[in-house]
């Protein structure tokens, strides 16, 4: 079996992975660094982020205000020390990207422009038109090519973390091109594999977002944190789930029901004004807006389509010029994929799964509960997002915590010895089991059938609203699906670019992730942010101002325990949106 050795190994080549690689390369040019990614890095899902990246930039704003918006937006489940570090470092990171050539949109005087965003009280969202993630990722990828100590394993798929004496010391991975299985050893491994939206049927997430890093960490014995907190974005296109950015609402778009009525005014989000008002109406937080959709559907005031109910996003009053300057990608997506023109027609939208607040538990430096293992970006849960992430906080998060993880891993790697013999034995084991899966015949299940069943049960039972019984049913069902997944047989037994083998492994990862979500959701008998229990509609700070920590027991079952939330300066309060009500609340 071929063995590669590095000081630091990045698993995932998106925004967080590339930022971490550059950080490690800069802090110590003698380190051997590798980035392993199942797709070419510029294909990573960071590319799809549209609206922008938050970081205090203007004189009317302050770090404390960004922190407060983030913490209240997260329904007080954020760790406030992490939030404070985040808001402080975000502007520097965004500036660094400017220095690396990111084509940020500008004011007429040449300074960076910022826009409004949901749940944010001030304009602080940097943007590159409505392709912010695309430009950030390409800037990072192109810049990373300057660093000759960073090697790449493009189109390699990681199947397992190698752990000995409690320390993560590398991975086993398959090279897609050849089918070769190799061990890639490293003194520190950083997971930057992103989210897991594909666990659900309707999602903005790309095909590659299958929770690989979360499952790898969980199987290796690390804690996953707050897995019940899944964000629905209120405005995705039905069927495809293509994201229509929140920036459409920040620029003044309206959400209307079947009667053309701006229904958010009925849900304690403020009164409708012709122009967008910060932290109000369409600029409320995503969890609230997605919940309002369900309420509106229950009242029979949504429209019916072939892919379920929907409402309308109306941009017509913004005019062609604004749409073409600030939201060109939205127009392109609507024209190409929905065959409608937002300049003259309303866009059909529905809530679609968008982002995972939970993930691999890390501390403020990106270190997980396993020595040698770090995580950053959507795969990780620091947590700055708490029970609901604010739009435009995820892009700066991957920069800030990517850089932090890169620095911490570089320091850790400097103190470690190379991997021992037990690691090679583990790698050989994994190779044998992969070969067995590849050659197995006589099974009775197809991958797509199991995957679709999983997605259906997650949407039905663990969606925007959940109940104890619906979650219990989902857990049973998912365990049956795990059993069915073990009976999958591949049509494809070839070594060259075997995407069916990868799909089978991804499905097994997704089932682990789905079960973690459901188990944490069952035990959290309160409603907070994106986790809404119809049977426990109130927030319960007495019992649940705490992070869910789920880990795998040696017998394969799961254990859920709780850790307190770190509160520094913002004691739990009521989440208030809409101008007049908010003024009253803040006295």
């Amino acid at each position: 079996m071929e063995v590669f050795s590095y000081d630091i190994l990045l698993v995932g080549g998106g925004g967080a992975g590339l930022r971490a690689a550059i950080a490690a390369a800069e802090v110590n040019p003698n380190l051997k660094i590798a980035v392993i990614s199942k797709v070419y890095p510029m294909r990573s899902h960071t590319v799809s982020a549209e609206g922008g990246a938050a970081g205090v930039a203007k004189a009317d704003d302050s770090l404390d205000e960004h922190a407060y918006d983030t913490i209240s937006g997260g329904d007080w489940l954020c760790d406030q020390d992490a939030v404070e570090a985040f808001v402080k470092e975000a502007p520097q990171e965004l500036l660094r990207l400017e220095r690396w050539g990111c084509p940020w949109s500008r004011q007429s005087d040449g300074h960076i422009a910022v826009r409004a965003f949901g749940g944010m009280k001030k304009m602080r969202t940097w943007f590159a038109a409505d392709k912010t993630g695309f430009h950030m990722l390409h800037t990072l990828f192109q810049t990373s090519m300057k660093y000759t100590t960073v090697e790449r394993f493009d189109e390699w798929f990681v199947t397992r973390l190698l752990v000995d004496e409690g320390r993560v010391q590398g991975v086993v991975a398959i090279e897609l091109m050849s089918g070769k299985i190799a061990a890639v050893l490293a003194k520190a491994v950083i997971l930057c594999t992103g989210g897991c939206g594909r666990v659900f049927p309707f999602t903005t997430n790309a095909n590659i977002k299958t929770g690989d890093g979360m499952a790898l960490a969980y199987r290796a014995g690390a804690f996953l944190k707050d897995m019940e907190f899944v964000q629905y974005h209120p405005t995705g296109l039905p069927f495809t789930g293509i994201l229509i950015t929140e920036a459409t609402r920040a620029e003044g778009g309206y959400l209307v029901n079947k009667d053309g009525y701006r229904y958010l005014q009925d849900y304690n989000l403020g009164k409708p004004q012709p122009k967008p008002v910060l932290r109000s109406m369409e600029l409320g937080p995503r969890d609230r807006l997605s919940q309002c959709f369900v309420k509106e559907m229950e009242k029979g005031r949504t429209l019916h389509g072939p892919y379920g109910d929907y409402v309308h996003l109306d941009l017509r009053h913004l005019g062609a010029q604004l749409i073409d300057t600030k939201l060109p990608f939205v127009r392109e997506l609507c024209l190409k994929y929905e065959n409608i023109d937002p300049v003259t027609e309303m866009i059909p939208v529905r809530p679609v799964v968008h982002y995972m607040m939970g993930g691999v538990h890390t501390d403020i430096h990106g270190a997980t509960s396993l020595p040698g293992l770090y995580a950053a970006g959507e795969v990780a849960c620091v947590s700055i997002n708490g029970a609901n992430r604010l739009g435009s906080n995820s892009l700066p998060e991957l920069l800030v915590f990517g850089a932090r993880a890169g620095h911490a891993a570089a320091e850790f790697a400097g103190q470690q010895k190379p991997a021992g013999a037990a690691i090679s034995a583990q790698a050989e084991d994994e190779k044998r089991s992969l070969e067995a899966l590849l050659t197995k015949t006589g099974g009775s299940e197809r991958i797509a059938d199991v995957r679709e069943a999983m997605q259906k049960i997650m949407e039905q039972s663990a969606g925007i609203y959940r109940t104890g019984p619906s979650l219990a049913e989902a857990e049973t069902h998912l365990m049956q699906l795990q059993d069915r997944a073990s009976r999958i047989t591949l049509d494809d037994h070839g070594l060259t670019f075997n995407t069916q083998l990868i799909t089978a492994l991804e499905l097994s990862f997704m089932l682990d992730v789905a079960l973690s979500m459901v188990r944490c959701a069952r035990q959290r008998t309160e409603s907070r942010g994106a986790h809404q229990r119809s049977d426990f509609p109130a927030r319960d700070d007495k019992n649940f101002l705490a992070h869910s920590m789920v880990s795998r027991k040696p017998d394969g079952s799961a254990n859920v325990e709780y850790r307190p939330v770190k509160i520094t300066r913002w004691p739990p309060g009521e989440r208030v949106y809409g101008q007049p009500a908010e003024k009253a609340a803040q006295g």
Binding site: M42, R43, G101, P103, F134, Q142, T143, Y337
Partner: protein
């Protein structure tokens, strides 16, 4: 599902086949399906060994480029109904070595991509505390179109010069060099010029503009190539008059 359409998909496995052949699949013809949806239908329901790349399904990751009825297309942005009543012929991107079925070998492109030094070059780094480089919306507009490239390589599959001369650095890489050359913050145009001048292939480009026609993101690589040729010619002319003293 009353209506269907036939796909003719190129199949090739280096482990089994000496040359590519076509396989036919009957798939539902649905109004909202793109060619990629049809391929996924085949993979999920009929033949799990059919091999292709895809990810975002919204035209921004650049993975799913293929030849559809002889033209390079992003299959996620190409409706199936456009080809009714069929058949729809799907092949790997032209001029690239085939890895398997619809997957092509990308490493030549990746090498060329890096060669043009696609990063911001400054003669001297300034500390972050000095704030952002100022850049007006007008200055941004100068290079912005060239920054929209998603690296899908459809332009290579459309380029007759690349077809004849695999050493040609190619449309996307030249557009990328221009993206930085034209950026008011960059000072690396001379370095990149030296690199690009070593690649004779560019002079073979007769401005047929096939690359620009194929680009799904309106990048206009043909325009970048013309700009570059002009600059290179001027540069060459200057070296005749004034031998280069310093770089």
């Amino acid at each position: 599902m009353a209506e269907t359409i036939q796909l003719e998909v190129a199949r090739y496995s280096p482990e089994k086949d000496s040359a590519p052949s076509f396989q036919k699949y009957e798939v539902p013809l649905r109004k909202d399906w793109v060619v990629l949806d049809a391929l996924n239908y085949v993979k999920d329901q009929q033949d799990g060994s059919l091999t292709f790349r895809w990810s975002c399904r919204m035209g921004v990751c650049g993975s799913c480029g293929m030849m559809v009825n002889g033209e390079p297309k992003l299959t996620c942005a190409t409706f199936l109904s456009k080809y009714a009543p069929g058949p729809v012929r799907v092949e790997p991107l032209r001029y690239f070595p085939i890895v398997r079925d619809l997957v092509v070998e990308m490493s030549d492109f990746m090498t060329k991509f890096r060669k043009v030094k696609p990063w911001l070059i400054r003669k001297q780094e300034a500390p972050l505390s000095e704030g952002e480089f100022l850049q007006t919306p007008e200055q941004l507009e100068v290079y912005k179109p060239f920054s929209m490239c998603i690296n899908c390589t459809l332009c290579y599959a459309a380029c007759p010069v690349y077809g004849l001369d695999p050493f040609f650095i190619g449309p996307a890489a030249i557009a990328l060099a221009q993206r930085y050359n034209l950026d008011s913050r960059d000072q690396g145009a001379d370095e990149r010029m030296d690199i690009l001048s070593q690649h004779e292939g560019i002079w073979g480009c007769t401005f047929v503009g096939e690359c620009t026609k194929a680009c799904p993101k309106n990048v206009d690589p043909a325009g970048a190539i013309q700009q570059y040729k002009l600059a290179a010619a001027m540069n060459w002319f200057k070296t005749l008059l004034v031998p280069k003293a310093s770089p």
